[in-house]
């Protein structure tokens, strides 16, 4: 995490949740200024689901190191705990989902405006007191703007997993994966509280452990990392198995969701349905290609008069 490049103006304390210059951001790969017509949005096909190696039948990690994977497995196992009889994140393959997402996209899986400049965050103060600054936001207002750090998911995970373990060692003397479940939960609770406090939602005053965790993360967003972990865990639990998680539809089975279906009747809307859950590739093709020449006239098909400029 880069430190601020410029000294703070007198009387203002720069938060360690650092401001990043756009130059130092993409050391790992080239992000060029988009030119007109650059197709920047990754096509969905770019997503590479984990492929099981032939010998073991177990997917291999493509982004995480073995030690990172161990930490991710331990975290997701606490976020959505489970066992064989009541599957959770591990049984659903969530760590492989997260790994595939990170391996598939050098930057973001979703469209993201990544051009600088990036904001500087300060502890304390108000918009009025920081109004003379260039791009300065008081820390307690940052949440209202959403993602602004410029850090890519790959970096956030690499650095965040390291910081999480640093914090676990400083607090309990062992890495996160080697702690008892209660200790792991305590750590995740601290991170969650930091995130909620950043959004003005935490109860009570800040606890010492929140400061310790924030310090361990070097100000680079302990709360934000928790938020990313939780979001990605939920995605892996409940997205189509095509993406590497929700193995055997355990996520959908948990909540009673039958997966994508073509249609429901008005009666089913009132009394429910008895369909078995099915993944996307179980969906009956709407218009099998063999019938492409006999598509019902009610379906609008390409017409002349529309073309790329």
């Amino acid at each position: 995490m880069a430190e601020p490049e410029e000294a703070a103006p007198p009387g203002r304390k720069i938060s360690r949740r650092a401001f990043i210059s756009s130059g130092s951001l993409f050391g790992g790969f080239l992000l060029v200024q988009c030119t007109a017509g650059t197709e920047t949005r990754p096509p969905p096909q770019q997503f590479l689901p984990p492929a099981p190696p032939e010998q073991t039948g177990v997917p291999a990690y493509r982004f995480f190191t073995a030690s990172e994977a161990r930490t991710v497995e331990a975290i997701t196992a606490r976020l959505i705990p489970g066992d064989e009889s009541d599957p959770g994140a591990i049984e659903a393959g969530v760590p492989f989902y997260i790994d595939a997402k990170l391996a598939s996209f050098e930057s973001f899986a979703e469209p993201t405006f990544i051009q600088g400049p990036f904001v500087e965050v300060v502890d304390g103060g108000t918009f009025e007191s920081t109004a003379d600054g260039d791009l300065v936001v008081p820390e307690d207002q940052l949440y209202r703007y959403g993602y602004q750090s410029g850090v890519t998911p790959q970096t956030e995970y690499r650095d965040g997993l390291q910081s999480l373990n640093d914090y676990a060692v400083s607090r309990y003397g062992s890495e996160f994966a080697d702690l008892a479940a209660e200790e792991q939960d305590s750590i995740l609770e601290v991170l969650d509280t930091i995130q909620q406090r950043a959004e003005g939602d935490a109860e009570g005053s800040e606890q010492a452990e929140e400061g310790a965790a924030t310090a361990a993360f070097g100000g680079s967003g302990a709360g934000g990392f928790f938020s990313t972990l939780r979001t990605d865990t939920i995605e892996g639990m409940f997205s189509d198995p095509l993406y590497g998680g929700n193995k055997d539809l355990v996520g959908w089975t948990l909540i009673g969701y039958p997966g994508p279906q073509r249609a429901y009747s008005p009666q089913e809307m009132l009394i429910g349905t008895r369909r078995n859950p099915q993944p996307l590739d179980g969906l009956t093709p709407m218009n099998p290609d063999r019938h492409a020449h006999e598509v019902p006239e009610a379906l609008e098909q390409p017409r002349s008069g529309v073309r790329d400029g």
């Binding site: 949005r41 098909q301 790329d308």
Partner: protein, 590 residues
């Protein structure tokens, strides 16, 4: 090297709802030529929407939305705060591609209320001038509900809207919306099927003395052949509606309705993946056409007699502001500094949620319109004498189309101790289909301090300044929200929830959480150039051969979705352009 295209009569910036309406209404009975420039790609019901039930891709990764990699909009809560770009999708989701946002819309199709059109006058007459806060810049529309009624009527029949009339030529009908303005005909199709949760709401609020009625929807409840001759299928209640294209064409969009008759003339062309970078004007300040860049990065100039900016609200504002010249140094339409003024939004929240143990509501079926609505607390349908605000909201129960990923994120807020872990998982497992809420879609009045201009710092992929939004809620909205949260609580309790949670205060506006794509105002209609950017037809006062369409024209935003009125305004403009404009091009219509 800019390529000069052959001139056309009409060019539109954007190939969405209003562009296709103008083409379908103007071209068939005239000899005009028209081109629409659409920044996104072409897509059609078949084959493009045949395999689209992938919620991760469409709902959570915004497949159909404007490409944030290239263009965004900055926001700040007030003029002291720095403006930062929306780096990932949050507050609103403008679409791109052939058909625009109307391809992914939820399809609620409202008429605004008579009092919405006479907003300022109505409130002053009933409550006195002091009722309107000083900073509020709300004003009347330049015409009345009755002036727009026949356009609403034509739009509803072309779209095949499903609904139940509440006011037929002044006669109040049981089961419809008793607060609506008079309509000349019933809806062309009966209401959509109602959901289990919708029925529960319906009975409960009737018991509270309110007047629930089915949502008027641009989704067909049955097969329909429209006045253009398009043959269309009814809704399959599949549960993949908002943020998806409809694979059977039951959800009305330009693809199902206006593009076929427009393209059939042979005098309409939509150029996709063409990004407009400005309106050109001559020394006299008259528009000459638009510049655009195609997918290969080549630049073109498209000359036209008439230029129409028909994109999303924020793009329309920005198109005018970016078009700076000697004749219009601050942008087209901005000679009097009115562009960007009266920017408004939509107070869309879910104040009360409940959990019904051992009940399942099948929320993942249906669509966003398979529910009733109440208008008893909308607009001035209730007496505001003893409350400390003006305005209101439509109120409604959770609709269908629940999607597992995004719903799991926050469905249990306030109902479990922790947002993760064993208890959260267990509750989600037992109650994912048992938690519902009351939603409000409230008015957003205009204020002097809420406006849009060009950002001094951030630029898009073409090096052009982003639009900067300055916006936050005010005391009036906070008071209105508190009142509506209490009403929501009454409703959720009347519905017999076992556990309830109520959010009693309106939090400050935040940019990172989806609320509504109803960004409105900024190029508003009015009676003269001192109070507006355009006249009642969307014709720009200072550059009369430029028109603006869409919700950017709204002087302030009522408590209902904009598309029905966006459509009716486009019908009104299309008729004026077709029948009168070309007799004296460039003259202001009266």
């Amino acid at each position: 090297m800019v390529v000069q295209n052959d001139p056309v009569d009409i060019v539109t910036i954007g190939g969405g709802m209003t562009a296709s309406i103008l083409a379908a209404l103007i071209l068939p009975s005239t000899s005009h030529t028209m081109v629409s420039l659409e920044q996104g790609a072409a897509r059609w019901t078949y084959p493009d929407f045949a395999h689209n039930h992938d919620s991760l891709r469409f709902n959570n990764r915004y497949e159909l939305m404007q490409d944030l990699n290239q263009v965004s909009w900055t926001w700040r809560p007030n003029e002291n705060a720095p403006a930062l770009p929306m780096r990932q999708y949050g507050s609103f989701n403008p679409g791109q591609g052939l058909g625009g946002s109307m391809v992914h819309w939820t399809a609620l199709t409202w008429r605004f209320l008579p009092s919405d059109f006479a907003y300022r006058t109505h409130h002053i007459e009933r409550y006195g001038a002091d009722k309107i806060p000083d900073e509020m810049t709300v004003q009347d529309w330049p015409f009345s509900y009755l002036d727009l009624e026949r356009h609403y009527d034509a739009l509803e029949y072309d779209m095949g809207v499903s609904g139940q009339a509440g006011n037929l030529n002044g006669r109040i009908l049981e089961g419809g919306n008793p607060f609506e303005g008079p309509r000349q005909r019933p809806y062309p199709n009966p209401p959509l099927a109602q959901s289990a949760f919708g029925n529960l709401f319906h009975e409960a609020v009737q018991g509270l003395g309110l007047h629930p009625f089915p949502t008027p929807s641009g989704i067909l409840s049955q097969g329909y052949t429209d006045p253009f001759g398009n043959v269309r299928a009814g809704c399959l209640y599949c549960g993949f509606c908002t943020r998806y294209g409809c694979e059977v064409g039951a959800k009305t969009s330009p693809l199902t309705t206006w593009l076929p008759p427009a393209l059939d003339t042979g005098r309409y062309e939509v150029r996709t993946r063409s990004h407009v970078i400005g309106i050109e004007t001559d020394d006299d300040g008259r528009a000459t056409g638009v510049r655009y860049v195609n997918a290969d990065g080549n630049e073109f100039f498209q000359p036209a007699e008439l230029v129409i900016t028909s994109a999303y609200t924020l793009e329309n504002i920005r198109n005018l502001l970016l078009s700076r010249s000697k004749a219009h140094p601050d942008g087209v339409g901005n000679d009097r500094g009115r562009v960007g003024r009266n920017y408004t939004y939509q107070l869309a929240q879910n104040p009360a949620s409940g959990l019904w143990e051992n009940e399942r509501f099948n929320f993942y079926m249906g669509n966003g319109c398979t529910i009733p609505q109440v208008f008893d607390y909308n607009a001035d349908n209730f007496d505001h004498s003893d409350v400390d605000f003006i305005g209101g909201a439509r109120m409604y129960p959770s609709a269908g189309q629940r999607e597992p990923i995004s719903s799991a994120q926050n469905l249990l807020e306030g109902l479990t101790d922790r947002r993760w872990g064993a208890e959260w998982k267990q509750t989600l497992g037992s109650s994912w289909d048992s938690v519902g809420s009351i939603g409000i879609e409230g008015e957003s009045p205009a204020y002097e301090g809420n406006f849009c201009d060009l950002d001094p710092r951030f630029t898009d992929a073409w090096g052009l300044p982003l639009l900067r939004i300055t916006f936050d809620w005010r005391e009036n909205e906070r008071n209105m929200y508190r009142f509506l949260a209490n009403r929501s609580e009454e409703m959720i309790k009347a519905m017999g929830a076992d556990r309830t949670t109520v959010t009693r205060q309106l939090a400050p506006y935040r940019y990172d959480v989806y609320q509504s794509t109803h960004a409105t105002g900024g190029c508003i209609m009015g009676t003269d150039p001192g109070n507006s950017v355009t006249n009642g037809y969307g014709q720009v006062w200072d550059t009369p051969n430029v028109f603006v369409t869409g919700a950017a024209l709204f002087p302030q935003n009522p408590g209902a979705n904009p598309s029905g009125t966006v459509g009716a305004l486009a019908y009104r403009a299309a008729e004026a352009i077709r029948d009168r404009y070309f007799k004296a091009p460039g003259e202001l219509l009266t």
